[in-house]
């Protein structure tokens, strides 16, 4: 279970501050799929970062009682100057996994072949998305945080994500931020619509998508 209690986040902007989130309450239960909807800059990524513990809330609390992945995006979680293999080694070390096991999974999932011997900064965004997904799926988490990234891949990648995440790991919780109403409707049980720093949770996903479309 993940609990967010009256979470606020503001960033310094010029001489003042910019209030991005103004008191978000949210609960993610085991196995539940929650979608975040909102316009650009509404705070979807910020909220995912707070849930993942990448940044700290300005006030309020985030409680994690399950193994939560790092937010899957284009950049975070790996280092550009290191090769794909070195990143896999690093992840294996800090999470206490066998490198062999992680490497096999990454090779198989990413299909990047020799490119894995190159620094990650030379990768295209689609290739990065593949690596990011492979690395976090190789580690067992109870909840995966996904920030948009699923949309960048080609059809083959999306199919793979689909089968690994929603079929093989159907019992895991997923928090996904996306602009794609289609994705949210198909896979989410509930949706959070972010607007003006406030969040509203909808148990009817279609209703959430309608509200979002009207924003």
């Amino acid at each position: 279970m993940i609990q967010c209690e009256r979470v606020t986040k503001s960033y310094p902007m010029g001489s003042g501050t910019k209030q991005v989130l103004r008191g978000i309450n949210l609960e993610v239960r085991p196995g539940e799929h929650i979608g975040f909807l909102g316009r650009n800059g509404a705070g979807k990524t910020t909220l995912i970062k707070l849930i993942g513990g990448v940044e700290m809330p300005t006030s309020g609390k985030v409680r994690r009682n399950m193994r939560v992945s790092w937010p899957l995006g284009f950049g975070g979680g790996f280092q550009g100057s290191l090769t794909g293999y070195d990143n896999a080694r690093f992840i294996a070390r800090i999470y206490g996994y066998e490198y062999q096991q992680i490497r096999d999974f990454v090779e198989d999932f990413t299909e990047l072949g020799r490119q894995l011997k190159m620094p990650v900064k030379t990768y295209s965004s689609g290739m990065r998305a593949r690596l990011a997904f492979a690395l976090s799926l190789a580690i067992e988490f109870d909840c995966y945080l996904i920030d948009e990234v699923i949309m960048v891949g080609d059809a083959n990648f999306q199919r793979k994500c689909h089968s690994e995440l929603f079929d093989k790991r159907a019992d895991r919780a997923v928090v996904i931020a996306s602009h794609s109403p289609h994705l949210i409707c198909d896979f989410c049980d509930r949706a959070l619509v972010l607007d003006g720093g406030q969040g509203r949770i909808y148990t009817d996903v279609n209703e959430a998508v309608e509200v979002y479309s009207a924003l």
Partner: protein, 260 residues
């Protein structure tokens, strides 16, 4: 107790992984790899030692000038490198904040540790080389040498723990750092034993944690050939106070750290 043991295991894993990562990114795997870490201090101590040898002659105050120079310069380069590497360390490493088991203090610890190991390896190597040509004495007291290194390193670490968060808060610090470390040199105990100084200067140097650490290290090498005088309360107490302030500052910076 078991949660403490688990935490300790994770901590060791993280430190190990960060060390390897840092060494690979900085030095790569080609040619001598991570051994580069001791090349710079080695060159520094070696070349300045030779320079001194020609400027001051073979011996001063009854000890070899080259050996005295090497024992002073290696801790000094460690201090300067560690401090320089702490600047903006959180911003540079912010990508690692994606993994919750990594804490920002780990970054500082790892960088200081790498610089320390590099300087110590250079110390042993240069000591062995100089010993083989009769320019370096057999260490009089290895225990004192290690204790001196520990006190000196603890103080450097506590200093970095403060400078790293401050460098994130203000740009000014980054600009004045090089000149400050340069001006610090007379207070670092690199070039003298306290007993060689005038009485007023001796009294002032008593309060420099660097000088205290250096005196103990020098005693460890030269023994009674130098008149070393020290007190471990000053370096220990000041390091502990700085560590405490540093931890508070790190916590504050972490709360506001913006991660891309």
């Amino acid at each position: 107790m078991s949660s403490f043991a688990a935490g300790w295991r994770i901590q060791r894993r993280v430190i190990g992984a960060l060390m390897i990562r840092e060494l690979v990114t900085r030095f790569g795997r080609e040619n001598i790899g991570f051994l580069w870490v001791m090349v710079e201090p080695l060159l520094f101590a070696g070349l300045v030692g030779i320079l001194w040898r020609f400027m001051k002659g073979p011996e001063e105050h009854g000890v070899s000038v080259v050996a005295f120079c090497a024992t002073g310069y290696l801790p000094l380069t460690f201090f300067r490198n560690a401090v320089t590497r702490s600047v903006r360390i959180f911003t540079v490493n912010s990508g690692l904040m994606y993994h919750r088991q990594i804490k920002i203090i780990d970054f500082i610890f790892v960088r200081v540790l790498i610089e320390m190991i590099g300087a110590m390896m250079a110390y042993v190597l240069i000591g062995a080389l100089l010993m083989s040509i009769g320019e370096f004495p057999m260490p009089a007291d290895i225990g004192a040498l290690v204790a001196g290194w520990f006190l000196y390193s603890f103080f450097v670490f506590s200093l970095c723990l403060i400078l790293a968060p401050l460098s994130e808060m203000s740009e000014v610090l980054e600009k004045i750092m090089p000149v400050t470390t340069y001006v610090m040199i007379p207070f670092s105990g690199t070039f003298y034993m306290v007993s060689w100084l005038a009485p007023q200067a001796q009294a002032a140097m008593y309060y420099s944690p660097f000088v205290q650490g250096m005196e103990i290290m020098r005693y460890g090498i030269f023994g009674d050939a130098v008149n070393a005088q020290w007190n471990i309360t000053v370096p220990l107490a000041s390091s502990m106070v700085l560590t405490l302030i540093g931890l508070v500052l790190c916590r504050r910076v972490r709360r506001r750290l913006v991660v891309e």
